[in-house]
Amino acid sequence: SQQGEEDPQALSIQEGENATMNCSYKTSINNLQWYRQNSGRGLVHLILIRSNEREKHSGRLRVTLDTSKKSSSLLITASRAADTASYFCVSAGNKLTFGGGTRVLVKP
């Protein structure tokens, strides 16, 4: 069963809009990572936030982490059609635990 939970499971937005997805985890972590997966391909690392950080930015990506709530969010600003993909959070504690993923569709 999945230990990490992501919501929403699917998201459909127009190009230029922001996309926000959330992730919850169950155990204490050292860091939390977000990955993107284009259809039928491998995962690509996007960003990592450490347990002592609350917010991190990378280009159009913004990640927040709330360790008291065991949750994280990923915001993609000014989305593009090329952002269409599945996004996974991965909590890194004693082991890596993958969330179920959020499928994002950006319509041109």
């Binding site: 990572q33 990955y35 039928g40 491998g42 995962l43 690392h45 990592l48 890194a92 890596l96 993923g101």
Partner: protein
């Protein structure tokens, strides 16, 4: 850029066949992983290796074995393929250490067992 190469993009095998999935990384990473990805079940760890000839079972090792004779190569073996092993198989590598900070994934092998 780190490259993780999986030998086949698509593979079709028959029930009972022995299947080898090969993965090669070019960044001298100590850690290598095999995952399978199924709709609704996400990514599940089959095996991982933290050094040459070392291996650890993941969450779903049954029906699989692995081999790591060289640092750059990590092979997944299905001793006797079954239809429930039809899946997307993903190999990944990461720098050594207890804390995993960044996984590099291959493009995946879609295996169909008929």
């Amino acid at each position: 850029d780190v490259k993780v190469t999986q030998s086949s993009r698509y593979l079709v095998k028959r029930t009972g066949e022995k299947v080898f999935l090969e993965c090669v990384q070019d960044m001298d990473h100590e850690n290598m992983f095999w995952y399978r990805q199924d709709p609704g079940l996400g990514l599940r760890l089959i095996y991982f290796s933290y050094d040459v000839k070392m291996k650890e079972k993941g969450d779903i090792p049954e029906g699989y074995s692995v081999s790591r004779e060289k640092k750059e190569r990590f092979s997944l073996i299905l001793e006797s393929a079954s239809t429930n092993q039809t899946s997307m198989y993903l190999c990944a590598s990461a720098i050594g250490g207890l804390v995993r900070e960044k996984l590099f994934f291959g493009s995946g092998t879609q295996l169909s067992v008929l």
